[in-house]
């Protein structure tokens, strides 16, 4: 299952589905980095609203995506982590340290817009 990546101005938006396998997540990691380079994007939003489970691999992959994209000079924000999923992640011991999160797509975009302003 491929994760669609949309380009909206300087921002890329990737929307997760529920049933992502490890291979899908690895493809997304590669795809996002390629597109950030190709479009010279300044921000990435990863929308995980549909994810009903965020296990150790998914959490780690998200963190790696955010850190790789930061090294490239762009910002990542993870949006839409469901309350049950957040609860399970904490119990599991997974945190997204150093990764920006926001309630939903709209707030994620607002966060990036502010971020871009402070850099410009």
């Amino acid at each position: 299952m491929e994760v669609p990546i949309l380009k909206q101005g300087e921002v890329l938006i990737a929307t997760f589905q529920a049933a992502l396998s490890d291979a899908d997540l690895e493809n997304l990691r590669r795809g996002l980095l390629q597109q950030v380079v190709r479009f010279r994007s300044r921000g990435v939003i990863v929308d995980v609203t549909a994810m009903d489970v965020m296990d150790s691999f998914a959490s780690r992959t998200l963190r790696e995506i955010a850190h790789m994209i930061r090294l490239r000079g762009a910002e990542t924000v993870i949006v839409g982590i469901q309350p049950e999923v957040a609860f399970a992640m904490v119990q599991l011991g997974m945190t997204l340290e150093g990764v920006a999160t926001a309630l939903d797509l709209e707030e994620g975009l607002a966060y990036l817009t502010e971020k871009f302003k402070s850099i410009d």
Binding site: L20, S21, A23, V53, D55, Q82, E84, F87
Partner: protein, 134 residues
């Protein structure tokens, strides 16, 4: 409520997704809350992931269980892989020999109500966990 058990063979990363989906469906069928169903699905995902990482193949079995005055779900993850030489070490946060982060087993124990593990080096590992309905 279905009386039987659900077995999911774990041979690939797709099977991890399948196992956790089946775990969630059974949890909802048994009347677990959305939070508990997510805990159960996450635990299944981690257990299936351990099978794949350490033993390459194995099986997840899901079944309804009846306590003295409560209902619950039992998940058994079994493999015939190399086994765990030091279970105490494996149960510590941050320990891993597979190159993963190794948060699997202690995390699974926190997500569930009961946890037991048996492992014989060279023979395999069986992890049994239960969660009771609140």
């Amino acid at each position: 409520m279905s009386a039987g058990e659900i077995r999911v063979a774990i041979n690939s990363d797709q099977d991890i997704v399948l196992a956790r989906q089946k775990g969630r469906v059974l949890a909802i069928e048994l009347g677990f809350s959305a939070v508990d169903a997510t805990f159960i699905a996450t635990a299944v995902s981690e257990l299936a992931r351990n099978i794949l990482a350490y033993a390459r193949k194995g099986e997840i079995t899901l079944r309804a269980v009846q306590g003295s005055n409560r209902k619950g779900i039992q998940i058994v993850a079994s493999d015939h892989g190399p086994g765990i030489p030091d279970i105490h070490q494996a149960m510590r946060d941050g320990f891993s020999t597979s190159g993963s982060l190794g948060l699997g087993l202690p995390g699974v124990r926190r997500l569930m109500d009961e946890f037991s593990i048996t492992s014989q080096p060279g023979r395999g590992t069986t992890v049994t966990v239960k969660k009771w309905r609140q």
